[in-house]
């Protein structure tokens, strides 16, 4: 089976609106979490998030104000990806370029705004583009319209594993011959009154409002929940032969995809981690890799009591004593949790780690599980193979395996 490689990366995040600035922030263990400004959070238990405040029209140099905010994120991110993967004058057949993006919430933030207007001012005040703004698929079709990529178009929604599933499905899309290449990743607007209230009521987010940068503490003894983030992250996938023939820059290989369900609970993980362990094993098997090949894991690592405990058990089941030789990089400490876009952002972290052979640092934690988390400064290490885990509400588990080339 021919290798599928990554030839483009793009990021829009609170830590930087391109891959370089995002990566610089990650290497400096700089958090994007601050007090929420988009709405007044004073009545909320958790009042912090990695909120994206950049105006996308300013970033792009042309107005995208007529689009919904999540579509603005998508267009700004795709614009970077098109440039990074050198797609504007590429020999690739646009009818054979698929688009597969993940989002957990779609345009729900806009539904909140529209519903408020409907209830306060009546139906005549609802924007005629309301349906298009709310439906999750607008992020995909607006990219297709803008750049003319007219292969298969999919929007994947599996909660917090949405974009990880989207990347895996894009891999399958190319392997199956349905497309020659694919734009993939995820987009999410999360800092919105209703969704923050929902997570607030679940008590799933850290209430540590006085110390935003250290509020999310994955795998720590005193962890007390995640912190929301938002933005977009995208990757361009194509066959290795295609990348080489057109002289594209190759970042890494996307080697394996595992995707399982747990069939247990709407919001709680399977306590023994058996369902997510199956996803990791599937990804290894799909890549033809041994567990001993893995040097680095970007875990789902949300910083909630239950999720981190279950994920640790799952990782232990799969990697056993080899876990002592694996670095764990729980980036949600710094990025916040981008929900449906988290898997894509973390895939980019993993790919950049493989490309640069750097283990990125984190702010000190009182780690309950004695994992190899790097604190302080980046560490150089020859990296061969890295895994990214993403687990969604409803027990949707995805593991992606990447290899350096």
């Amino acid at each position: 089976m021919e290798k599928i490689v990554i030839t483009g990366l793009a990021v829009i995040s609170a830590q930087g609106n391109n891959v370089d600035s995002f990566w610089d922030s990650i290497l400096a263990a700089k958090s994007g979490v601050k007090h929420i400004t988009r709405f007044d959070p004073s009545q909320y238990r958790t009042q912090i998030a990695a909120e994206l405040q950049t105006d996308m029209s300013t970033l792009l140099g042309y107005s995208v104000a007529s689009h919904s905010l999540n579509t603005q994120f998508a267009l700004a991110c795709a614009s970077q990806l098109v440039q990074d993967a050198k797609l504007l004058d590429s020999p690739l057949d646009k009818s054979r370029i698929g688009i597969c993006l993940g989002t957990g919430l779609g345009g729900l933030y806009y539904a909140e705004e529209a519903l408020t207007k409907l209830l306060q001012q009546g139906p005549a005040r609802v924007n005629p583009m309301c349906v298009s703004f709310v439906e999750p698929n607008s992020i995909v079709n607006q990219i297709a319209i803008k750049w003319g990529f007219i292969g298969q178009q999919l929007t994947v929604s599996t909660a917090c594993s949405s974009s990880a599933n989207a990347i895996g499905i894009a891999l399958d899309m190319i392997r199956s011959g349905r497309a020659d290449a694919a734009l993939t990743g995820g987009v999410e607007v999360t800092v919105q009154p209703l969704m923050v209230a929902g997570f607030d009521r679940l008590r799933a987010m850290s209430p540590n409002n006085d110390d935003p940068e250290n509020a999310c503490r994955p795998f720590a003894v005193d962890r007390d929940g995640f912190v929301l983030g938002e933005g977009a992250a995208m990757l361009f996938l194509e066959k290795e032969s295609s990348a080489k023939s057109r002289g594209a820059k190759i970042y890494a290989e996307l080697a394996g995809f595992g995707s399982t369900g747990g069939g247990f609970h709407a919001v709680m993980p399977v306590a023994d981690g058996s369902d997510s362990a199956r996803a990791m094993k599937e990804a290894l098997q799909d890549a033809g890799a041994a567990m001993e090949d893995v040097d680095l894991i970007n875990p789902h690592g949300t910083g909630t009591k239950l999720n981190d405990a279950a994920e640790y058990k799952a990782i232990q089941q799969v990697f056993g004593s080899h876990l002592d030789d694996i670095y764990i990089a729980p980036t949600k400490q710094l990025t916040g949790h981008l929900l449906g876009a988290a898997g894509a952002l973390e895939a980019i972290h993993v790919v950049k780690s493989l490309q640069t052979h750097l283990i990125t640092p984190f702010n000190a934690l009182n780690d309950e599980f004695q994992l190899n988390i790097n604190y302080g400064k980046p560490v150089s290490k020859k990296l061969y193979c890295a895994m990214s885990n993403s687990f969604g509400f409803g027990n949707n588990n995805v593991s992606l395996l990447f290899r350096s080339l």
Partner: protein, 85 residues
């Protein structure tokens, strides 16, 4: 209620696919400016939002695909919305 010519041009530009002119004449045909059926609906919505009014379908019944800017301005004037073009 008034909308200046420059404000009206901005509204049309935001809602027309191929509005490339810098100025507007009464004889310009809306569809030729790129104001398609959705663009027309969005233009009406923008005017409703700006002036906090509601424009009924019956008020727009005389407008067709070949209506000009002047035709549109006349319809709006009947609703007490004045645009100088």
């Amino acid at each position: 209620m008034n909308i200046s010519k420059s404000e009206f041009i901005k509204i049309l530009q935001a809602n027309a696919d191929k509005f490339e002119k810098e100025d507007l004449a009464g004889t310009d045909v809306l569809s030729e400016l790129g104001v398609d059926s959705l663009g027309f609906v969005m233009t009406i919505y923008a005017i409703e939002e700006k002036l906090n009014i509601k424009i009924e379908d019956k008020d727009l019944a005389s407008l067709t695909a070949t209506s000009t800017v002047a035709d549109f301005v006349r319809v709006l004037a009947a609703l007490d919305v004045n645009i100088e073009v």
